[in-house]
């Protein structure tokens, strides 16, 4: 793959000065179009074979009764009907997941932005704190950490005992239908380091010249934050918001490990994907699971669309200035 192959071959016999410019223009046009598709070849292959076709297949499966072994049997809208009107556990899982997303995502992002601002101006020790704050995000999605949190928040676990020793008697969180979901919320918030690193990268990408110019114009710290930091950082905020929201809807491993795979107690940690897994893989109702997956896709799609629509009014790209 090189640019040479996309250029017109040089001809020695052409009258110099007349033909080359036309040829070069043609070559330039070709050069513009072909490389784009060459750059995109791996992505297009993946999009077709591993995304579009499987999506269509699973949409088809959502209208069938399918157990992985026998051929799928067409049942029309039966799966969707059962899901929306006859299945209280489905609605329970929707409620739990929404509660989790609405609490965990804003908390995590606020903490991440706060920590990034704190570290940016910390001076000495910044690199150390950045690494240390980031460490939980490295480990948080692992089975290991889910097992640790299960042990810490279980009856007799260290965090429960420490809270008890300062007079906050909560009992074991893992076994409490009211508190179990917050074990997973706290596990998520604990991982604020990943968006923090992205925020910090964004902050450090802002040209010091902008701050110098603002300071020369008499802007104080707060004014600099509002007029320089916020607009320059808005693409990063947007990126983090979309990323975290989508990830949160699909949280699986922590809920699986903390509840021992069952979503308990009393279905209080029955996250949407956990219930999908249970119906699909444990109970072998792949058609129903496919229908749940498609509904999740539609809901996430709508929320993301709303975010993208509103982003036009608050996200600022440097290279679009003056367009």
């Amino acid at each position: 793959m090189s640019t040479v192959s996309t250029r017109a071959p040089a001809r020695a016999d052409g009258p110099a000065g007349t033909r080359p410019p036309a040829r070069r223009r043609r070559a330039r046009r070709r050069e513009q179009r072909w490389p784009a598709y060459v750059f995109l070849t791996p992505w297009m292959l993946g999009a077709a074979v591993l995304t579009l076709v499987p999506m269509a297949v699973s949409l088809y499966l959502s209208f069938t009764d399918y157990n992985l072994f026998d051929p799928p049997r067409w049942v029309g809208l039966r799966n969707y009907q059962e899901m929306l009107t006859e299945d209280p556990r489905f609605w329970r899982s929707v409620g739990t997941t929404l509660l989790y997303v609405v609490i965990a995502v804003p908390l995590k992002l606020l903490l991440a932005l706060g920590a990034a601002m704190l570290l940016k101006n910390l001076g000495r020790g910044r690199a150390f704190y950045r690494s240390a704050f980031y460490a939980p995000s490295l480990l948080g999605a692992s089975m290991t950490i889910a097992l640790v949190w299960r042990a810490l928040f279980n009856d007799g676990g260290s965090v429960v005992d420490i809270l008890g020793s300062v007079g906050i008697d909560t009992g074991g969180w893992v076994g409490s239908p009211d508190l179990a979901v917050y074990v997973i919320v706290l596990l998520t918030v604990w991982q604020f380091g990943a968006p923090m690193v992205i925020f910090l990268a964004g902050l450090q990408q802002i040209s010091p010249e902008l701050y110098e110019a603002a300071a020369l114009d008499g802007a104080g710290r707060w004014r600099q934050f509002v007029s320089v930091t916020v607009p320059m950082l808005s693409p990063v905020v947007f990126f983090n918001l979309v990323l975290e929201m989508i990830q949160s809807f699909q949280v699986f491993t922590p809920a699986f490990a903390v509840s021992g795979g069952e979503g308990g107690p009393a279905d209080s940690t029955l996250f949407y994907t956990l219930y999908l897994y249970e119906r699909g893989f444990t109970a072998s109702h792949m058609g129903y699971a496919a229908a749940m997956a498609w509904l999740l896709l539609v809901v996430i799609g709508i929320i993301t669309l709303i975010l993208f629509r509103t982003s036009r009014s608050w996200v600022f790209y440097a290279d679009e200035e003056g367009r």
Partner: protein
């Protein structure tokens, strides 16, 4: 507020935050070194003596497969995933961020749409495909998709970063006669290094920590990753084996920490400004 207080408040917040944040990790490390009878009964973080036998038990691995083999398996998968994602995602991202082509808006919209695609939507059909290809119980289903830029997170991340880069450098490269490939390779890619390294680090960690996909595709114990082995270790042992269990947990997360300490300095390099000045 005088200057000294202003300097000390952020440092105090940072220290307190750090202690709270690292407590679970300290607990993990301490528990991995505790004798069996102290794990549940003692609130004290420090073990009465260091029970190194927890680690020798853990090193034996699971189902006769030693931990070193399990770690090597995981390195193979994570390494393949990193190379695949960095190459394929940066290629696609450059096209989306900088090149003009027919249907670019439709394709970009589709790419963003796959960003929010729940993995469960494509899981079963993908399994059927890999099964047809005879790739189940090999590492191909875990690595091959990365070479096809299926993780839109990273395409999107690099597109966002490249869009923030100044166009002047690329334009001057064009004027100097560089084609799209040369501009990509010599100008845009070096400037995008922070985004590429972020991609590499996240890919490595996510692959290393992945449980669900590995569980679906891998069956032979000698092909297991460290996470799969940890899971079967937990299933096989009772709570009295807390020590060895968390010793194995420590071993399983150690490579992630090492990987991060090697590469973390690249994470937050601000390239936009230095690129313009240079």
């Amino acid at each position: 507020m005088n200057l000294t207080t202003r300097r000390w408040i952020p440092h105090t917040i940072a220290v307190v935050g750090l202690l709270v944040l690292l407590y679970p990790l300290a607990w993990l490390l301490a528990t991995s070194l505790k004798p069996a009878d102290e794990v549940v009964t003692s609130l004290d973080l420090w073990p009465s003596h260091l029970e190194w036998s927890n680690y020798t038990t853990a090193l034996d691995g699971v189902s006769g497969v030693p931990v070193t083999r399990l770690l090597w398996n995981t390195v193979l998968i994570a390494g393949g995933a990193v190379v695949g994602n960095v190459v394929s995602c940066s290629l696609a991202a450059y096209a989306f961020a900088r090149l003009r082509f027919r249907m670019s808006k439709v394709m970009f919209a589709f790419m963003v749409a796959t960003l929010m695609l729940p993995h469960h939507v494509v899981l079963i059909p993908q399994y059927i495909i890999f099964n047809q290809l005879g790739m189940v119980d090999t590492y191909w289903p875990l690595i091959l998709p990365k070479f096809l830029a299926t993780e839109a997170f990273f395409v999107f991340l690099i597109v966002q970063f490249m869009r923030g880069l100044p166009r002047e450098l690329e334009e001057s490269a064009r004027i100097d006669g560089c084609g799209a490939f040369r501009t990509y390779w010599s100008v845009t890619l070096p400037l995008s290094r922070p985004a590429l390294i972020t991609t590499a680090i996240f890919t490595f960690i996510w692959t290393w920590n992945d449980f669900f996909t590995q569980m679906i595709y891998l069956f032979a114990p000698e092909k297991f990753t460290i996470t799969l082995a940890l899971r079967s270790f937990v299933d096989q042992s009772s709570t009295s084996a807390y020590g060895p269990m968390f010793a194995m947990s420590v071993i399983s997360v150690l490579p992630i920490v090492l990987f991060f300490f090697v590469f973390q300095r690249y994470l937050v390099q601000g390239m936009a400004t230095s690129g313009l000045k240079g």
